[in-house]
Every structure is written in C-alpha cells, then in structure tokens.
Amino acid sequence: MDGHAPHGSNYRYVARKRRTKEDKRFITGRGRYVADVSVPGMKHVAVIASPHAAARIAAIRTAKALAVPGVVAVVTGADIVAATNPMQHGLDIPGVRWYALAVDRARYAGEWVAAVVADSRYVAEDAAELIEVDYEPLPFVIDPEAAFQPGSPPVHPDHKSNVLFQRRFVYGDVDGDFRRADHTLSFRVRWGRSSTVPIETFGVLARWDEGRDVLDVWASIQMPKFHDQLAGCLRLGGNNVRVHYDVDVGGSYGTKRGIAHSVLVGFLARKLRTPVRFIEDRLEYMAGGGAHGPDRIFDMEVAFNRDGRVLSHRMRALDDVGCYPGRSPLQLGKPIGAIVGPYKIGSCAYEAISVTTNKTSQVAVRGFGQAPTNVAIETAMDRVAGFLGIDRLEVRRRNFIAKGEFPYLIPSGTTYDSGDYPTVLDKTVALSRWPELLAKRDALRAEGRLAGIGIATCLEPSGGNSAFEPLFNPLNDTTTWMESCQIKIDLGGTITAIIATSTSGQGHETLVATVIGEELERDPDTIRVVHSDSLGAFPSNSPVGSRMAIMLGGAASGAARQIRASLTRIAAHNFNVPEDRLEYESGAITNRNNTAQKLAWDDLVRIAHRKYHLMPPGSEPGLQATYCWEVPTGGKMPTPDGRVQMYPCFSFEAHVPLVAIDPASGKVDILAYFVGHDCGTVISPDIVRGITCGGIAHGIGAALYEKFEYDANGQLLAGTFADYLMPSAHEVPAIAVTEHCTPSPHTPMGQKGSGEAGYLGAPAAIASAVNDALAPLGLAITTLPMRLKDIEALLAAKSGPKP
C-alpha cells in the first residue's frame, strides 16, 4: 500500500488513550458467547471418551442409551465416516485420517468415541454413561523420543512411521563457521506441553435451515478458512454454510479451532434436522478437544568467538504433536523466519522433526512455535555469556542487528523490516533501575536466598504470511494471505465498517474504528464495526500470527482512503477544480483557493446518495468501499533450499524480571518485572499494554506451572484447573512496560503486530532468571515448566540427603 501516513504523534485518535468499543457489553453482562446463543428446539451433545491410550474398538452398544427418555440419537465413528470427509492436515500425510469421532481405533485417552444428542446436557450425560464399548488395548507410545525411533508402536498404522515431518535446513556455511569459531557449546532445552487454555471452552451450535439449504453455525472460533474446511468436511458447498462471526469468543490465543466439534455438530444438525449444540466441559477441553500446545525438545549447538559474537548455531527441534496434527507441525516452520532472533548470526542449521504420539492433539498456540524457539535462542546467549564471563546484556548488545542495518536479511531468507533493539533494551534496563535491581538481587543473595535477574530479547514475527505451508508441504502452493474490510456511509452520514472474522479479545472493533476515524477524521466512537457472517464476508484469514493490526488495520485504511478519494472526486467536480486544490478537514472539503467553496460531510454524503446530477459522470452511486489486500512481502514461494520470507513485520521485546527462590521448597517468586516493547505505531495503547501483560502472565505459566502431564499409561494427569495450574493474581507481579516505536515500512501507519506480545519473551526471561538464581550453586535447569518440585529436586540433589 502506498501513501504512508506520517509516523509519530500527529494522530488524532491513533496511539491515544481511548475507551474501547467492546468493553461496555462485557462489563454489563451483555457479551454474546456461543453458550449464550439459543435457538428453539436446540438439542445438546455429550461425548464419551476412550479410557485407553490406544485400543481397537471392537463393539459399541448404544441401545440402553437410546432408551433414556429425552435422547434423540447416538452416533459413532461409523456414522461420521459415512457422511463426512476427513479433516485437513497441514502436511501431506494421507495415512493419517482424522474424523470427528474415533473410527475403529482410539488413539489417545480422551479421544471421543461416541456422541449422544438429547433434550438437555444433563440427559445426554446420563445416557452417555450407558453406552458400552468393547476396547481391545493396543501398544502405544507417549514419549516423543521413543516415537521417533523406528519400530515404535504406530499411532497411525497407515502412515509409514510415527515421524510426520523431518527436514534439515542449512542456511549458509554452518560447518565452516563452526570450524572457524573460537568456541562451541551445546545444550538441550525442553519445552513442556502446555497451552493457552482460555477460560471459555470451545463450543458450537449448528442449525440446518431446510428451507434455504443453509447450515447456520455459531462457534467460539478463531481459525483461518474455518467455513471452507467445515463445508468441505460436510460435503456442502461453501455457500451452504453460514458461520456467524458476531459471536464473542471467550479467549483463544490461537487454540479455538474446534473443527472436529463443528463437523460433528454440523453433521448431527443435518442428520437430525434439529439444532444441535455442543459446549465442551472443562475435562473435554483438556483431554479430548485437541487444544494442546508445542511439546518440544531442542538440541542446540552454538559457535562463537571469544569476544562473544555468535557465528552460527545448529538447532534440532523434535516436536510431539500428539495424535491428529492438523496444522500443528507447521509450528516448527514459522520460527524459520526468526531463527537467529534479533542477532547477526551469519549461518544456521535447523532440523525440524514432528512426531505423532498417543496424546491429545496439538493445535496452534500463541506465537505458532516461536516462544519455545526463543527460549532456545536466549538460552544460547546466556550460555555464551556465562562461558566467556561476559555480562549477559553485553553479549546481546554485541550481537544485535544495529538500527542502521535494516532491512536486514537473515540466513533463512527472511528480511526483517525495521527495529532498534539496542535502544529498546537500554530503555528496559533504565526502567528497571538496573544498578538498584542488581543491588536488590545481591542483597537477597546475601540474606541466603536464591535470587536471579532474567534477560530475554526476543522477536515477535507478525503479519501472518502462510509461507510455512508451501515450505512444509510440497502439495500446498498457497502464497495468498489476505484480509478485507468494507466501509459504507449511510444517508445520515454515519459510518459502518464490516469485518470478516470473529474476535477473541483483541479489540478489532476498536482497531477498525480507530483506523477509519483517523483516516477520515471522524470520531471513532460514532463508527460502528460489524462482524459479518461467512456468506456476507469478504476474504479473511482470521486473527492469527499477530496480523490484525497490520492486515485488518491495513484493510481498514485502504477502504477508508477509497472513501476519502470518492469524497474528493465529488468535491472537485462540484467546485470544478483539480483535486490537488482541495483541503480535507474532518470530513468537509474546501477549495484552498476559494474557501467559500466548501462542502460539509453531510453535503457530500447526500450528493453521493441522492443527487446523481451532482456526481462526477460515471461514478458509482452511494458511498461505500471494499479493500482486500495481500499481506506485505507475501506472494512468494520458498526456494528449493528452504529460504523464505516468512512474515512481513518484526516486533521486538526486552524482558527483565527479578525472581527469588525459596531454597527450602523451590518456590519461585517473581519480585519485579520490566519489559520494553516495540510494535511500531501503537494504534490502541490500552489494548497493546493489556495483551503484553497478559502474554507475560501466560509466559510465566508456561515457564513455571503449566503442563499437560501424562503418566506412563498415557493417562492425562492434568484435566482440571486443580492440576493444570494457571497463574492467578498472586503469581503475576506488577509489570512495568515501556513502549518504543520503530515504524514498519510495510504498513499504512507504521504498525506491527502485538497479539502475541509478552508471551514470546516471558518464558525465556523467567528461565534466564531462575538460572541466574541457581548459578551461584553451580546448578542449571533447562526444562520448562520449572515447577516447584523440579527445582526442589535439583536443590535437594545438590545439598544431599536432608538430615
């Protein structure tokens, strides 16, 4: 898009504190989530789940369940496989067939085997308990390294092994750099199986409209191309499915992708000719819903010189995607676009391995694989600093890409758009009152406590190209990743914008209203933003990859600029002067050379709607615009050796937490947290700060508490909030944020993405702090989450048996 608006503080509405458009309905209890949508005649679903990690399903007897008063139907995998197409994967793996219910074989404990439809959820659960399933247990595999071995029990026997993807990318002269380096070191980082775990589970309601041949769907969804895939699985045309995007989504952070649930409910609604709703309960979400995050082992080698400059790294990432991978293996692909972090590392090798195991499936999680990768990169920087005895801040400063070096091409083929990493780190260090922070840590140590300061300087790739799709799947040549916005001005002069996606807390209505208000110089509070449905919508790829400030904001700018151009043409025609003589001010247009010639906003709108005799000949009547744009830097296929422009814009964050560890219990307390953040032009400051703090809280959880633990029998041990521990207001400290603005050259207002902010650096920062605290004891821990019991065990092993 050309015609960049000026950057900085010249904005009326952008970058200024304003109340959001969404919050009023939430504080008054008037949000409309999927469980709040009710249609007459609606029936309810309960599912039964496999108790086995792997088992052949020999028989399912449903007669007792069907006899319960109020039960409408019981369906199994056989019904599903007869009437629906398998769901899609990101990889080319035809041997891995994925249906909404298990077909003949259950592949993880918690997999849904049958579904009951009844008048109420209570009755459906009663009946579900009466379904009898004969299981014949089969060998299974839980550990990803075991799954990687040839001969491990096959999760999907029709796939040749449990390895779904394996490729080693070599970018530059890695072996030469390792030979030339003064030093090398190696280590392993383990990222535990956690996820975003929204407070709202996934839910979906479907109604088959017999008279119109339309399946109406209300869902708690955040998923690219959801309606296309749903229609395909249900063997319907795309225009036979209407997904309503005006449903508030109660948190997602990537994971609300209940395609299996939606296929099930869509199938049932059509088959039974009655509306059907399925709202997961908490255990169904945790154990069955397929919403786990990356579960990754990194083996890292780093080559560096004695001055602390890192020349190269070799990274091997083995990721356990669980049973049905969907798009999740692609989460190994996105980090290729920031594989050297914010550093001038001249070469690298990256081996990505995706294995399937008998666990609940992995799904897209905030950052799409970047947060774990950032832990590996940042651990490397800390290790280099420790090895050489150089300050950790200094090592980073010596390796940072300098402000003047952008646009900067990294070895894997991605060009970073802009940044000023040293300044953001300096601002963060200043915010933390570094000398005082060090003194505080050292005072704690002098008292006999373990205390540490963490440092992490991490990238947030944003904008969401799909370049990992063609990179990981030769059958997929998708390079389009667009977003749309429509604007219409009604006869009364009010502005309505139409967007083509649902929202899960990112404040898209506020974003779009603010951007359009800025472009047209109209008060955003008077602009209405409507969530379309999939039949009325123009193309969207949904809010993934920190892309909406960039892509939806850019689409809103584009549409608004078309409106402004239309207004300008009308005025020029009526004043009979060239357009460059006109002055646009708050929606009114004046002839600069003759200020008596002025048309107010309302006048211009009335001409457009009612006075065709005053319109430029050949004009489109009315005042409306549609803008659909391709992601900047998109539209390119990877090179044969795997180089690719992964994302367009690169936000940056520097984290500095102070932690103290109780030497007796291993409990980690976060005493202070400072973060510097640069996502270019901030459109809505309150929203960006909130997401950043929330991302940090989520990162604290991933670093210290949250894990979907399985036992040796493949049973999930963390199915409730009593076992899967998420940070409360006690565990998350006050967070001090400083913003910096390095505009992106690719976007209309210089904005970059911020949807994954905080989370991309916090796990690395907490890990760094814990290790700084343990360093005086000569201890280190590189397995996340670093739970109380893990640290306690480490400390106990060091001190020997207690007397």
């Binding site: 975003t196 929204p198 407070i199 703090c693 929330g694 909030f721």
Partner: protein, 160 residues
C-alpha cells in the same frame, strides 16, 4: 429430571418463583432458566471463578451449588450491578476506563469479586485487591489492568 422442586429466590432485587430439578446447578439455572447469561461457566469445579455471583452478600461459585439450595436466598449477578436506568456502577465504569479485560469472559466474575471486596473494604491496598481476585482466573490481561481498575474505583469512591 422429572422430579422438580418449586423455589423462590431474589435475583438482582426481583423475586423469582421457579421450578428446578434438584440436580440443576445454580449457574445453569441462572443462565438457562432465567436467561441471565452474563454469569459464565469456565471449569464447573470451582476454581476459575467465572460463575461468581453474590449470594446473601458474599461472593460464591454458582457452579458448586444447586439451584434448589438457593431457595429463599438473595443473589446478585453481573446484570444487577448497573443502576435501574442502566447507569454503570463506578466499578463497572472503572473497568471500562482501565480496559480491565480483553475477551470479557472472566469479567463478570471479576466484577463480582471486586464488588464484594469494595463492599467491605473502603480503602483496599493493591495486595488486598490481588487477594480478592486471586480466586478468579483471567487468561487475557495478566491482571494488571484489573488491579488498576479496582484501585481506580476505590479512589473514586473515596474522592466523592
């Protein structure tokens, strides 16, 4: 579910006479029978706090109680926090001002927890606020702006 009991309870100042199955949870009753969908369900095992309501003056988890147990009691839900004319309470307004939410799903429970705190503590410290909301999980905000909103609401009340 055939066995249903008559119950009378006061919700947001209005007396409701209704019929509920003994096993129906209070939160399902509030949402499905009364249509007050502002109270949300997050875990159904009493940890997340999304279903919090004020029960005879105290915040409780409405997922951990049966509707029939509420017979004869008074309940305030998020819908009851605003004035009769729709005027936002100072606490609600402070949540908006501070943008103390993102997806809004935990917000009704957070408002209930904060409302209960402010009802008994005129001048809460930040620690008091964190303690009061520590039984309510929020996955979006990291609690920062929620704490700020409650501080703001308390300060407003003191100031006027």
């Amino acid at each position: 579910m055939t066995d249903r009991r008559d119950i009378r309870l006061t919700i947001n100042g209005r007396v409701h006479a209704a019929c509920a199955a003994p096993r129906m949870t209070l939160v399902d009753f509030i949402r499905d029978e009364l249509g007050l969908t502002g109270t949300h369900i997050g875990c159904e095992h009493g940890v997340c706090g999304a279903c919090s309501v004020i029960f005879d003056g105290k915040p409780i988890r409405s997922c951990l109680m049966f509707a029939v147990q509420a017979d004869g009691h008074a309940i305030t839900t998020v819908e009851g926090l605003e004035g009769a004319d729709g005027t936002l309470s100072p606490l609600q307004d402070s949540f908006w001002e501070a943008h103390a939410m993102q997806c809004g799903y935990c917000t009704p429970g957070m408002l209930i927890a904060a409302h209960a705190l402010l009802a008994e503590n005129l001048d809460p410290t930040e620690d008091d606020i964190r303690e009061a909301i520590s039984g309510n999980l929020c996955r979006c905000t990291g609690y920062q702006q929620i704490v700020e909103a409650v501080v703001h609401a308390a300060r407003r009340r003191k100031g006027g």
